[in-house]
């Protein structure tokens, strides 16, 4: 059932709960080759420094997806063909905002002054953390709706494909992000803390042609921005 409730989830901050994907951390830091002892030890240092820095939070809303003239009616003041295509056939949507907190921003700022290399890896680590959190959340929803014979589409964020960043304003109004999880939006539509994500995904009947691939594997595939520096080529 869809309704107006804004749900909030807090997750444990220890790394055993959301294990670190080191290769993703390296990839987001712009490092793509084989392991290097020096690089490895800097990554270890960054991970060690940041062990108490994260506070994982997600707020979300589950809403009915109306269809108008055969097209999904998005709860936004902007349209997007690519998002409509993704949501075609869905009966409901989940809109969520996630953050890993502001500790990482402080650390990056400090290290950018002290050791930019560590700052760079911290930024890659932050990107890995927020993506890992989003993946975890999406899988959690996926498991939760399994009993309702529903499955999830890939998640889609403002800025992906032709979905304009302006929809951030709609999402922030719908999710009350500042109060619920402490994420705010500035005039340029940037989020603070910087390692935060908003996204939307659809729920549809499991028999309705949806496969069993996990949302995170599809996230880059679903996006039409082929020039993205972080596009995960393995999934294309």
């Amino acid at each position: 059932m869809a309704d107006n409730t804004i749900f909030v989830k807090h997750y444990p901050s220890d790394f055993s709960f959301l294990p670190i994907n080191r290769s993703e951390m390296a990839r987001y830091s712009g490092y793509k080759s084989q392991a290097d002892e020096q690089v490895d030890s800097i990554m270890d240092e960054v991970i060690f420094d940041l062990q108490d820095a994260f506070s994982y939070k997600v707020c979300y809303r589950r809403m009915e997806l109306l269809v108008e003239d055969g097209r999904p009616k998005l709860p936004f003041s902007f349209s997007s063909k690519s998002l409509e295509a993704l949501l075609t056939g869905c009966s409901e949507i989940i809109i969520f905002a996630a953050t890993i907190g502001i500790g990482i921003d402080r650390y990056i700022k400090k290290e950018m002054r002290l050791s930019p290399t560590k700052g760079l890896f911290a930024q890659g680590f932050g990107a890995e953390r927020i993506e890992t959190l989003c993946d975890y959340f999406c899988n959690q929803i996926k498991e939760a709706v399994f009993d309702e014979n529903l499955t999830c589409t890939a998640r889609y964020s403002p800025g992906y494909g032709d979905l304009p960043l302006e929809v951030q304003k709609d999402i922030f109004a719908l999710l009350d992000c500042s109060r619920q999880i402490g994420v705010s939006l500035n005039e340029s539509l940037l989020m603070s803390p910087s390692k935060s994500v908003t996204a939307i995904f659809g729920l549809k009947e499991a028999s309705n042609g949806c496969d069993s691939t996990s949302p995170e594997r599809n996230k880059c595939k679903a996006c039409s921005n082929n020039d993205c520096a972080y596009r995960n080529s393995e999934n294309n």
Partner: protein, 811 residues
């Protein structure tokens, strides 16, 4: 004014357990408020709905109702609508009060919620702007008439301070403040409950506590910390647990009976003001009143704690001495003076970080130099320090304007250095303490100078205590410096200091502080006698020392004292730390000797290798060795630049990656440090490439990419002027014209900030047509760069370097 009660709310809360209201949002949703609709508009469009809910709370036993103005601020509404909404909200609350059947005392609070913008430096909203935003709301509400201001659900200490200052500057009403804590027991931006207690009591707020985010059980540790530290009444307004959905309706998982029982337990622990937040209804309040009305309120007592705070934590003055790092101070430091003149903030921050790493608990901040604008500099340094270092600061200046500016901007409760027994000085400083809070260092001197005897110094201390009390500043917020004098000039000087220290601590019950190093002026091996004096002072009960944490002798005394005084269980800290100090000097000597005897040719290839591998320490020590018999410029051109080129080319060919480029840059920077030092010994003209002004454009607060470009450019010898992030076009033009920079680099991360980049280029073309503009950033492409009129699109840091080199070769 609007208070028609027989009793003032402050008198009421002193004697009684006071009840607040419960949730509003969920009840409005039930009455048809749509997702995304602004609830404040309902004050005018659906006044009956608001009145009905608020009347129900008064009927249930609430003493204080908050107006439906949580998000009523000038960011969301224009001025006319804002005024109409707030006044309607107050009218609604008054109507609810008038029509309620409840016989209890009833008050109306102007509700002030967070404006939803994160303040600088982690967001882009300026602190003073926030004070203005809150000020508008509070001015409207206060002039229309309410009994108190209730600032609530604040998840950031800095935002909280902005709202409290706005309240103090726009009305004389009582102020209650309640913060929203996460499951980790901290605010979103990191403050602990104790840190909030310190800051808010410093700001003389009337009641403080927690609301929202969590159910009553999850707030146990937060409540415990509040009642332990707070000397003012503590309030609590938990959620009804967590929301879940049942048949399309939002329900919360803690029901009224359980909620009331939990709150009653907290009342027994010392909570004096209670209500509910999200998901709670009049039923919850009624149950809470029933469960607590027979309880005897725990008396509100002064906890007598001496606290200062940063944006994360408190430092409490107890038996163990607090170390106040003294290195951020230009006195007698040539390099520091140069850094101040050149506005080299990195150098100053470096001094701060080093002291933190060496064990300082607080940082003294003194940036006074006759030839600089101290007000601006102190503001800047305070802002930058609290951006990256979580230690409380001690603001150290004789310039009262600078003092006020820094205290205003400080995110926490600072130490203030200093006041003394002179009437004139007390009249300047105490009003600042009264307004902004702080722990004040009080020097025991007055119009007649520094008294020679302990007795006279204690007399001055008594005078200062009495004067502070007139401003409502308690004794616990004063810390006395009995003035360490030079023992080589007067052999009884140290004794007088120690005796007054003892008396002030024992007889007046006050904390004490000393700038210990003064004692050793004019003597050889100063550190040794300073450390001995430090030990003696600690034995007399010294609470804090302004000292150099880099001094091994001082740190040895500190750890030893703690171990010997039962302050270091099992001598754990002594064992952990003392090793560094015991051998520190001999090691550095032997390393230096090794470097002096090496083979120069070996150093050369090793230096290149160290830079390519990104080994900072090695690069520095190898350069040092090489400098023994090689001219600095030969090392730069023969070793460092070739090594950087190898890495740069590797990066361009994608055999090496960004982290390696940065690691090499950092290593070469370490090498350059050595070169610079050598060159300052025998100044020769270094090769300096063109001036390069760089900035992240207006509206954009992501500067990682720009910082990387800066580092690499500096490595290649460019003279970089980094204007930071969120830089308005005019500022860029201004700097380019000022330094006549032929090169400008602009960075933008988001499509939404590219227009600001375009505008900057336009203004540069008009006012500084000589400057070539390079652009870069995540969303930019060649086409994009062309369309906004840039001279060059740099896909990465190396591309910027190459373009810059090309340009400087042309000129």
């Amino acid at each position: 004014m609007g208070n028609k009660n027989s009793m003032n709310v402050l008198e009421y809360i002193k004697e009684n357990i006071t009840y607040l209201d419960g949730g509003m949002g969920t009840l409005l949703q039930k009455k048809g408020l749509q997702p995304g609709e602004l609830p404040e508009r309902w004050n005018l469009s659906h006044p009956e709905a608001i009145i009905e809910i608020q009347k129900a709370y008064f009927d249930a036993g609430s003493n204080i109702i908050a107006t439906n103005t949580f998000g009523a601020n000038c960011l969301k509404f224009d001025e006319a609508e804002l005024k109409a909404l707030i006044e309607a909200a107050i009218d609604n609350a008054r109507e609810a009060r008038a029509s309620s059947v409840g016989t209890q005392e009833k008050f109306i609070a102007l509700d002030v919620g967070p404006m939803g913008k994160l303040l600088q430096p982690y967001g882009d909203f300026p602190f003073e702007e926030a004070v203005k935003v809150y000020g508008k709301t509070i001015a409207i509400g206060a002039s229309y008439g309410v009994d108190l201001i209730y600032i609530e659900t604040m998840n950031d200490s800095y935002d909280t301070k902005a709202a409290v200052l706005a309240a103090k500057e726009n009305c004389d009403l009582p102020v209650f403040v309640s913060n929203a804590y996460g499951e980790d027991g901290k605010l979103m931006t990191g403050a602990s409950p104790a840190a909030m207690v310190a800051m808010l009591e410093g700001l003389q707020v009337d009641a403080i506590g927690a609301n929202c985010s969590l159910g009553p059980k999850q707030l146990a540790s937060v409540v415990e910390e509040y009642v332990k530290y707070a000397s003012v009444p503590v309030l609590l307004k938990p959620n009804a647990g967590l929301p879940r959905s049942e048949n399309g309706k939002t329900v919360y998982d803690v029901f009224p009976a359980e909620f009331a029982e939990d709150v009653a337990n907290y009342v027994k622990q010392g909570i004096r003001i209670c209500g509910g937040c999200c998901g709670t209804t009049p039923e919850y309040i009624e149950a809470t009143v029933q469960a607590t009305k027979e309880l005897t309120p725990v008396p509100i007592t002064d906890k007598g704690k001496t606290l200062i705070s940063s944006y994360t934590h408190v430092v409490e003055f107890l038996d163990s001495p607090i170390l106040i790092g003294e290195r951020i101070n230009p006195t007698g430091k040539k390099k520091f003076k140069e850094a101040l003149r050149a506005e080299d903030i990195d150098y100053i921050l470096g001094e701060g970080i080093t002291q933190q790493e060496k064990g300082a608990h607080v940082l003294d901040v003194n940036v006074g130099l006759p030839e600089i604008d101290e007000v601006e500099m102190l503001k800047k340094v305070t802002f930058e320090l609290q951006s990256i270092i979580d230690l409380p600061l001690q603001i150290d200046t004789t310039n009262v304007t600078a003092m006020e500016a820094a205290l205003r901007l400080y995110n926490g409760k600072a130490m203030i250095n200093s006041v003394n027994g002179k009437e004139e000085v007390m009249a300047e400083i105490f009003p600042l303490v009264q307004k902004y809070g702080g722990l004040v260092v009080c020097l025991t001197l007055d119009e007649n100078g520094i008294p020679a005897t302990a007795k006279e110094r204690v007399a001055i201390a008594k005078k200062i205590i009495a004067k502070a009390a007139e401003y409502g500043i308690p004794k616990k917020d004063l810390i006395f410096d009995t003035l360490a004098m030079t023992v080589s000039a007067d052999s009884t000087a140290a004794l007088a200091t120690l005796q007054s220290l003892h008396t002030i601590k024992q007889e007046l019950g006050c904390h004490t502080s000393l700038g210990v190093s003064n004692v050793s002026f004019g003597l050889p091996n100063r550190e040794i006698i300073t450390a001995a004096f430090f030990s003696l002072a600690m034995e007399q009960g010294l609470s804090a020392a302004i000292m150099n944490p880099n001094s091994a002798e001082m740190m040895k005394s500190y750890y030893s004292f703690r171990a010997l005084h039962g302050l270091d269980e099992n001598c754990t800290e002594y064992i952990e730390n003392i090793g560094k100090y015991a051998v520190a000097t001999s090691v550095s000597v032997s390393v230096a000797t090794d470097q002096g005897t090496g083979n120069p040719a070996q150093f050369a290839s090793d230096l290149q290798r160290a830079i390519i591998k990104g080994l900072k320490e090695q690069a520095a020590s190898l350069t040092k060795g090489l400098l023994e018999n090689t001219p600095p410029l030969e090392i730069v051109n023969g070793q460092i630049i070739p090594a950087l080129d190898i890495v740069g080319q590797g990066f361009e060919k994608k055999t090496m990656y960004l982290p390696q480029l940065l690691m090499a840059a950092e290593a070469s920077q370490a090498a350059f440090e050595q070169i610079k030092e050598k060159m300052s010994e025998n100044p020769t003209d270094a090769v300096v490439r063109e001036k390069f002004v760089i900035a992240t454009v207006h509206g954009d607060i992501h500067d990682i990419g720009k910082n990387i470009v800066k580092l690499i450019l500096e490595n290649y010898g460019f003279q970089v002027y980094d204007l930071g992030k969120d830089v308005p076009p005019e500022k860029v033009v201004e700097k380019v014209l000022e330094v006549q920079a032929p090169l400008v680099g602009l960075s933008a991360l988001m499509t939404t900030t590219v227009p600001a980049m375009e505008e900057t280029i336009k203004q540069l073309r008009k006012n500084a047509p000589f400057a070539k503009v390079v652009v870069g950033g995540a969303v930019l492409t060649q086409e994009y760069a062309d369309s906004i009129g840039a001279d060059f699109y740099a896909k990465d840091a190396m591309a910027t370097v190459r373009y810059g080199m090309e340009q400087s070769n042309h000129s």
